[in-house]
Symmetry: C2
Subunit: 191 residues, 2 copies
């Protein structure tokens, strides 16, 4: 479909080295950029993400919660003291959508809100012990999935996985990710 005969041929064999015209890129060849390889990436992301989230979802429905609740627990646990606004930026959803899951989590004692010290309009979010325990239960499930995948693939593959996943993100997400990685616990960073 709109491909030349040559491109069609290249799509079939995996072993033929085929340097892409003029491209002064480091390393071997660029076969991994062919259409078939890119479509495979779509499949991998679909099945991988589906099964990765699936194991957690199973447990969550038993607790009458959805994936959205877990995301809140995860990111609040990751950055205790996070503001509502920052959480919204991370989740990329609207205030209303967040409210619907956050409110029950607060009411049922999984999350606490405390007024910001410097800006008392803010509601800094943190997990209660109950919330942390729940988050951990869900995490244990995904942990096994990830550990199996990481262990089977090996350290080099894991590093590659990280690089590619980072590359799939927009610049915004990369910055947010940095915030999550830095400053392990103490909450309160400002843009």
């Amino acid at each position: 479909m709109g491909m030349t005969a040559d491109a069609e041929t290249a799509t079939r064999r995996h072993t033929i080295p085929e340097p892409q015209g003029a491209a002064p890129v480091a390393g071997r060849n660029l076969l991994f950029l062919r259409e078939e390889e890119l479509r495979l990436a779509q499949d991998l992301l679909f099945f991988g993400y589906r099964d990765f989230t699936g194991v957690a979802d199973q447990l969550l429905v038993e607790l009458n919660m959805g994936r959205a609740h877990h995301r809140v627990l995860h990111f609040v646990g990751r950055r205790p003291g996070i503001t509502v606004g920052d959480l919204l930026a991370i989740l990329s959803i609207t205030k209303q959508s967040l409210g619907r899951v956050l409110q029950p989590l607060v009411e049922e004692g999984y999350v606490v809100q405390t007024p910001g010290a410097s800006d008392r309009r803010q509601r800094l979010l943190a997990l209660t012990e109950k919330g942390a325990a729940l988050e951990r239960r869900v995490f244990e499930r995904q942990r096994e999935t990830i550990m199996r995948a990481y262990r089977e693939a090996g350290p080099t593959a894991v590093e590659g996985f990280r690089r590619v996943m980072r590359g799939l993100m927009g610049t915004e997400a990369r910055d947010l990710l940095k915030l999550l990685e830095d400053e392990p616990q103490e909450g309160g960073r400002r843009r």
Copy 2:
């Protein structure tokens, strides 16, 4: 939370080799299996998948379609002649959920159904030219995202990415993925 002081310390430094008790696993160390690394994987998958699908969603809403429509177009395009049952297995949704997106796609001429040759109860699915054109438009968007990520990361990283993503899948998904990879085009394989 529930970690020993030693574990806490290990969570901080990246460079301390820490052989995991008795584990005769090949290769360096197992640092990449620490809790912090696994939580990072959660973040990577969340942001990566979000942005990967996001670029396509943008275009899809303009066409009054959702992600579910795209998934159907993608997998039907990947395996022309696929049966409804096989598609259901791939998507892991119910017949009713599929019907809601498949029906409009057929009515609006994106997908055609033809009775199976050997079993006339089956409705073999395939894209029309219109459907293939649409699928391609959406693909072009994701293609750029993936290509950028792959190119920046390099061939070794890409291979690692694939290994890890495969590892995240359950055995069922891995088998389905094999079906998609083998037999490039000719539809009609049986279990």
